[in-house]
């Protein structure tokens, strides 16, 4: 499926992670594929999921979804005033120097995009670039809404080139580039200015609000998981119709009505079949 390109970004933090357990689980699996398998970073993978100590500190995740609400990109944010990766595990990058600490500076780590899925289901490289830029816009806008002025991000040289190519070049770097497993890691500085956000939006042709409606997202995922569990009995047209009903809903009541309709067309709701997982 191609990306519609609007309203595909979800922010999950300690306040709503109980609602989005399935999405978080998909995200931890994506991180395992990217950082463990593809990049060969020295990360701990258990049961196909990459989860570290910082995932237990209530970080915020900015997550990119495709048209079918699958996780295709993610990044993790933590305040630099509290425990964060550069202060601890990435201290090699800082060459023994104290980390920056500021209320208006966030750290971003674990930026990744599911290139395999997007290359397979989308329109190739363009879809990957689009998903990457959308995640950048989403994370910059989320930070900016919290009054954050700059982001320090731990990335590999490939991501560094991606940033430069997307008209989103870091304005500076802190510390040194160091070896991390099969690849190298470095810390880059990005401002969360309106100018930068506008540049990335213009580069990728992203217009309008990028943030997903959380209620509609949950409803769509519930309907999909339900129809998948009664496979064979539900036609693609019915599923498509139900999804459209949810997307057309503008109030909580209308979403409930759409779910009730799904109930009638697909059958009564059973226990969720997807395994949910919540860190922390």
């Amino acid at each position: 499926m191609a990306l519609k390109g609007t309203k595909m970004i979800l922010v999950v933090d300690a306040l709503n992670k109980h609602v989005h357990g399935g999405i978080l689980d998909e995200m931890f699996r994506l991180r395992a594929r990217v950082f463990g398998d593809r990049l060969g970073w020295d990360v701990k993978i258990e049961d196909g999921r990459e989860i570290d100590e910082f995932d237990h500190l209530d970080p915020a995740y900015v997550i990119g979804l495709d048209d079918d609400d699958n996780v295709v990109a993610c990044v993790r944010a933590l305040q630099t005033t509290g425990p964060h990766m550069l202060a601890d595990v990435f201290s090699d990058i800082l060459q023994g120097q104290a980390p920056l600490r500021s209320a208006t500076l966030w750290e971003s780590t674990r930026f990744c995009v599911d290139t395999d899925r997007l290359m397979m289901t989308g329109r190739g490289v363009g879809t990957v670039s689009r998903a990457t830029c959308e995640l950048m816009v989403g994370s910059l806008e989320y930070a900016r809404a919290s009054g954050i002025e700059d982001i320090i991000t731990v990335i590999d040289p490939v991501m560094n080139r991606v940033l430069k190519r997307s008209d989103n070049a870091p304005y500076d770097y802190v510390g040194a580039t160091v070896q991390m497993g099969k690849t190298k890691a470095l810390a880059a500085l990005l401002d969360c200015s309106e100018e930068r956000i506008a540049r990335v939006r213009a580069f990728a042709g992203i217009e309008g609000d990028v943030f997903v409606d959380e209620d509609a997202l949950s409803a769509r995922r519930a309907v999909r998981s339900k129809t998948a569990s009664v496979s064979g009995n539900v036609s693609a047209e019915v599923l498509q119709y139900l999804i459209e009903q949810i997307d057309a809903a503008t109030t909580e009541q209308e979403i409930s009505a759409a779910l009730a309709l799904a109930d009638q067309l697909v059958g009564p709701w059973s226990e969720p079949t997807s395994k949910t997982f919540v860190a922390g």
Binding site: V11, D13, A14, L15, D58, P59, A60, A77, L78, Q79, T80, T81, G82, P83, A87, L94, Q97, A98, P99, L100, R101, S102, A103, T104, L105, W106, Y142, A143, A145, S146, G147, I148, E149, D150, Y171, D172, V174, L189, D191
Partner: protein, 234 residues
């Protein structure tokens, strides 16, 4: 959750903490501000508010600290929590229904603060006004309030005996170098040219240095760095 100590805990500082909250409210056009924080090292809870006494009493009497989602719940967030995000939680309606009887609105936000030792705090502000007014005020003040919230938190955390022992701010060589050039009378632009880094890089390091030194302004940070022997007076 243990009941909050709503009293003013400041005893050796020149300015009462409540006064600090009053000043912040005046500066940012807010009605009331509240801070609560947990020091994970000695497990003490500090709370300071400048709400009217009647509301404070009612709040504690009703045990609202146990159900108020703008406290424990919001402290776990990374981003600023606009209270519209909490409206669906049962406790919110209960607390803010009563609050409105005391003339306190529900347009507000909580800024979560995290300290280096796992200590957490939350700085909440409220302003009774229309949604539209609130949105524009919020966008305007959030960045500035972030810094004040962290300074306020750090200041209270330093009160703990253990914390003050540990508190020799760790500045990087870059931060000290920049402060040293500022002490020598150079502007931020000058410093950028001298060190061949962008002005934005100078600024991000200065902001970090100010915060580590508990300073609101750069001259204050320079004075403190000199006082602590981190840089030389020139």
């Amino acid at each position: 959750m243990k009941p909050l100590d709503l009293g003013v805990i400041s005893n050796n500082s020149e300015e009462s903490l409540q006064q600090v909250l009053d000043n912040i409210c005046a500066q940012f056009n807010l009605d009331y501000a509240a801070y609560a924080g947990v020091n994970t090292i000695d497990n003490s809870i500090h709370g300071v508010v400048n709400y009217p006494d009647a509301w404070k009493e009612h709040y504690v009497e009703q045990g609202f600290q146990d159900i108020d989602p703008t406290l424990a719940m919001a402290a776990k967030s990374v981003g600023v929590v606009d209270w519209t995000r909490l409206q669906r939680i049962d406790g919110f309606r209960k607390v803010f229904c009563d609050a409105s009887e005391f003339g306190i609105g529900s347009t507000g936000m909580t800024i979560p603060v995290r300290g280096p030792y796992g200590d957490r705090g939350m700085f909440s502000v409220v302003r009774t006004c229309s949604e539209a007014e609130w949105t524009s005020l919020r966008n305007e003040i959030t960045s500035g309030l972030q810094t004040h919230a962290t300074l306020f938190h750090d200041r209270l955390m330093r009160h703990g005996r253990t914390m003050s022992e540990m508190r020799q701010p760790a500045l990087s060589d870059r931060e000290k170098e920049i402060l040293q050039w500022i002490a020598a009378g150079k502007s931020q632009t000058d410093v950028g040219i001298i060190l061949t880094i962008s002005t934005r890089t100078v600024e991000v390091h200065l902001r970090s240095a100010r915060e580590k030194l508990g300073a609101l302004t750069t001259p204050q940070a320079v004075a403190r760095a000199i006082g602590m022997g981190m840089i030389y007076p020139i």
